[in-house]
Symmetry: C2
Subunit: 319 residues, 2 copies
Amino acid sequence: MTTSDKVELAVIGRQRPAVIEALSAEFTLHEVSLDDVAGSLGPAAERIRGALSNPMIGLSAATMDALPKLEITTLFGVGLERTDLVAARERGIVVTTTPVLYEDVADTAVVLAMDVARKITSGDRWVRAGKWAAGGQAASGKRFSGKRAGILGMGRIGRMLAKRLEAFDMEIAYYDPRPAPDVDYTLHPTSVELARESDFLFLCAAGGPGVGHVVDADTLAALGPEGIFVNVARGWLVDEAALVDVVTTGTIAGAGLDVFSDEPNVPAALVESENVVLLPHIASNTFETRDDMDRCVIENMRSWFSTGKAITPVPAPVQ
Amino acid sequence: MTTSDKVELAVIGRQRPAVIEALSAEFTLHEVSLDDVAGSLGPAAERIRGALSNPMIGLSAATMDALPKLEITTLFGVGLERTDLVAARERGIVVTTTPVLYEDVADTAVVLAMDVARKITSGDRWVRAGKWAAGGQAASGKRFSGKRAGILGMGRIGRMLAKRLEAFDMEIAYYDPRPAPDVDYTLHPTSVELARESDFLFLCAAGGPGVGHVVDADTLAALGPEGIFVNVARGWLVDEAALVDVVTTGTIAGAGLDVFSDEPNVPAALVESENVVLLPHIASNTFETRDDMDRCVIENMRSWFSTGKAITPVPAPVQ
């Protein structure tokens, strides 16, 4: 097979080396400039049949227009808010995700909540600064077990989180615009009412086009001065200015944040705060899960071009 | 009632202000120098009927000898390794602990393991240092859920830990010189064999007089380069020099440590390591639990001197 016989793929945004290496053996890959998809591809744009992207970049209708032969797009992750599913459906483009990361994200939610409550990261900082050896008295934390957990978004991650929190004897409640009929947890009518009845408020909601702030200033205020907020979803689902305000004024006790509105930038007031734990969007970033996600992307692409079937396609949106 | 009518208590080592305040209203309290118990009390030594201590100081036979009228000692905690229970039994001295802290300690074991595996504290450090904003690629962690947990010591903390880890779909095994007939977890015949079959090794054993290193160099080596060690028990139950060696050479992947051999001193090589999380002995240090422990000490003392019964006495050792 010569190079020109191979199916051609567009590589949109940062992709994992293992994926590039595996697919390069079977496909011809073209790196794409995000600023000028058609221009950076030149004549190859007309031949691209598959695209590799990730949820933070997604696939816009404009990019689809630039790639008229596009059949499939793989997203390295599960978020769909930057991929135009309606436009994809209209063009017959299959979109696949990597639905193998839920456990890691649920784990991250648990560890962030416990870390903030029990002062783990700040305690480590205190020990490393020599303050314990100098005779200081360690700060007390808040108990984690037995508290009230509020989960915003009872999807797959929310359910896995709830299962974990049950083992800590927590009372679990949730808010979801689509109530989950198969769970027994208390459903509150609004985010604000959930926050008011929670010691820990976990944001596990999916973002989507047109979704505004799921957590706004009122929700954070309702959480109260003993409350801890955890975000493993998306930064832009939270009013970040309000979050900075409630953390720095003590309106809430603290926050554990894996995601931010303008990554990789984190508001300076949070970087200076002792009451937060700040992660670089690593909720699904484990060797094991990234390997599983690699395989998922590779196998979707292989399967589509050998059998005409994707392995983990996103259902087409309801018309 | 004049001061001289009040029962007199010795205060041995640091005690919580709330305990001192509450008991001062009903008892006459005397602070004791640890170097010279009898000398620092003077004639009051002959009148002391109760003592407040903590597990890290305990109550020696020599101190009992210096307090001939001693009836009861409260320990603020649950460790008994520095209290001479045989000498207490011989003298008819009741020893009480505060068995209200197990959940917090089990929680700390979980968060330490997850924190090391998922690079939470080191990730926060990385974000705060501006390395994410500067365009760096975050380090991957290890998956926590679904792994193999080895628990050294299947007592109350070990059981609560196991319950929590089950919710993370972990395979649980243990080693305990006294096997627990009521649990279904796999029992290994030695610490080394448990370590060899574990991704996470949790030390939850009770210390006791004459107990040497429960975790030695061989056990740590058996854990291997992907293994993570967690200690929420006592620093002196581990060969700390061997621990420093395996962490700094990569013989194990990392460690989460709440306790050390010579607190508050932490080996410099650990302070400089990126693969450890270091806590200032806070496994039970939450506001809620410390309040419960305060009440437990206060109520034991009150109950003993009003009814002749302690609330949470330690069973006398078998002769």
